[in-house]
């Protein structure tokens, strides 16, 4: 059954991911500050990195309050779902040759299944809070994530067609000569947009828009339960960045002077940086604009992408 090697990989991936997610608190604040011409947190420890520790301690020692009007068990369970489903998705990502938790032959489908379960966290959290702003946030989140899941799945089909496999290891191997971002630019752009909407990050953080909904679906959460939503969001950014790197930017592949894992991490942090830059630079669209753009622009585009990719793949095979 389980070998020592597998246990080491599982523990290592879990440890590194949770640390990256916590460390992103500091990275995001420092990068935002840089782009907004401020200093950001720079007091605790070297370059202010101990802000992570201070923040975590603060979250742990806050009063963990469950509102008396809330649906208790659903309220407690909701934050765990987002962290659980995102962590499960990391199971299929090949970080380097041999470093993958489970080499599934339905890799991409597994990722889509887990990301579709993440919606439950928002819906149940917002509903169980029994608060109108939280409920509005939950409703927005549900329709946004269902809509963008469709485009997310379809945008990956071009890559699957070109590789002929759902396995992420095969997909990385197929990019040995040319990254899929060159042959599938439309797929990449739509996956990136859908990824932002799926992780409900700015500019698409409409379920938790502070200016309209206080904090949206997690308005009633405090202490470590709020912390779980927070960590879930950073894990989500890391997951989408890792998927972009694996599917469109050649995964661990790179010139031989650096080991494969280092190439993967460099590309990963480039895209995490992109997510933070988007937050620093773009305003939030209106809710109906987001949904109608999705169904009226992205859906036809992504369907055309699937059609053209399929036709070209058939034509190339027929020659």
């Amino acid at each position: 059954m389980l070998t020592t090697n597998q246990i080491v990989i599982v523990a290592g991936v879990l440890f590194v991911l949770l640390n990256i997610a916590a460390g992103l608190i500091w990275v995001e604040r420092r990068l935002l500050a840089l782009w907004q011409d401020r200093l950001g947190p720079n007091r605790a420890g070297p370059l202010g990195i101990l802000i992570v520790l201070a923040d975590t301690l603060k979250l742990f020692f806050k009063e963990d309050w469950i509102p008396p009007f809330a649906d208790k068990w659903v309220f407690v369970g909701a934050p765990a779902i987002v962290v659980g489903s995102v962590l499960m998705s990391f199971v299929i990502i090949p970080f380097a040759p041999g470093i993958v938790v489970a080499d599934l032959n339905i890799g991409i489908l597994f990722f889509l299944a887990m990301s579709s379960l993440g919606v439950y966290s928002i819906v149940l959290g917002g509903w169980a809070s029994n608060n109108k702003y939280a409920l509005l946030g939950a409703l927005r989140g549900a329709s946004q994530m269902i809509a963008y899941e469709v485009f997310m799945g379809l945008s990956l089909m071009g890559v699957v067609m070109l590789t002929g496999s759902f396995n992420l290891g095969d997909i990385v191997a197929a990019q040995k000569h040319l990254w899929f971002v060159v042959t599938q630019p439309v797929g990449f752009i739509i996956f990136f947009i859908a990824g932002i909407a799926e992780t409900h990050r700015l500019p698409f953080d409409i379920p938790e828009a502070e200016s309209e909904l206080i904090a949206g679906y997690h308005a009633e959460y405090s202490g470590m339960k709020f912390g779980m939503f927070f960590i879930g969001e950073y894990l989500g950014i890391t997951l989408i960045s890792a998927m972009i790197v694996t599917l469109f930017f050649g995964g661990w592949l790179g010139p031989a002077f650096l080991p494969p894992l280092v190439w993967f991490v460099i590309k990963l942090f480039f895209f995490i940086g992109m997510f933070i830059l988007l937050r620093a630079s773009l305003p939030r669209p209106r809710y109906d604009q987001l949904i109608s753009t999705g169904w009226k622009v992205l859906l036809p585009l992504v369907l055309a992408n699937v059609l053209i990719t399929g036709a070209v793949a058939l034509w190339l095979r027929g020659r």
Partner: protein
């Protein structure tokens, strides 16, 4: 593998029973989600990973959330739970229980007979599913496509339904001489409405 199959079957049966007996619709739907997940596990343990993934993506992921949507819109409260309690009288259970008992007896006979073919596991990879869907069963796939298309056309038709009464600011746009204080050109107003209705 057979142990995993039985464990997930027990979870599936138990959670489905909970779906029926909960008075609160949202709790019932949560158990329904668990039931879908365990059905996905059953498919996985029987060697159909592709169907297992689709089960979670299509049922647990999308349909359930739409269900929750409806439940939240219905504004359910203590009264509905009470009503539900009144509907679920013991005598309602008699006929379904007898029917299910027949199925149970059949299943026990099948499981303990010598015919071991029913639990034979063979792994079906996505490629095989795709080839049989677009080869052998192409007519079924296309007919399903027709059906879904009809659903989309119907939904679009209902969504396009025009509002019969308008706010007094918006009525100016209908007459074609929009007043300056509205500040919105007439075409834009009507567009806005259709967008909101969609």
């Amino acid at each position: 593998m057979s142990t995993l199959f039985y464990i997930s079957s027990i979870v599936a049966v138990a959670s489905t029973v909970m779906v029926i007996t909960r008075y609160h619709p949202v709790h019932a739907l949560l158990y329904l989600a668990v039931s879908f997940l365990s059905v996905g596990m059953i498919f996985l343990s029987l060697g159909a990973p592709f169907v297992a993934a689709l089960e979670i993506i299509v049922y647990a992921g999308a349909i359930i959330v739409l269900f929750i949507f409806v439940v939240m819109m219905l504004n359910l409260g203590r009264e509905t739970a009470q009503q539900e309690k009144e509907w679920l009288q013991p005598k309602v259970w008699v006929v379904p229980s007898i029917l299910v008992l027949i199925l149970l007896v059949e299943m026990i006979i099948l499981l303990f007979s010598d015919n071991k073919d029913i639990m034979r596991i063979s792994v079906v990879d996505p490629r095989k599913v795709a080839l049989s869907l677009y080869g052998e069963y192409i007519i079924a796939v296309e007919l399903t496509g027709f059906l879904l298309m009809a659903g989309i056309v119907g939904a679009a038709h209902i969504g396009k339904h025009k509002r019969s009464s308008l706010h007094r600011f918006l009525q100016n746009g209908e007459n074609g001489n929009g007043k300056a204080h509205t500040g919105v050109p007439p075409e834009q107003v009507s567009n806005e409405q259709t967008v909101l209705h969609d």
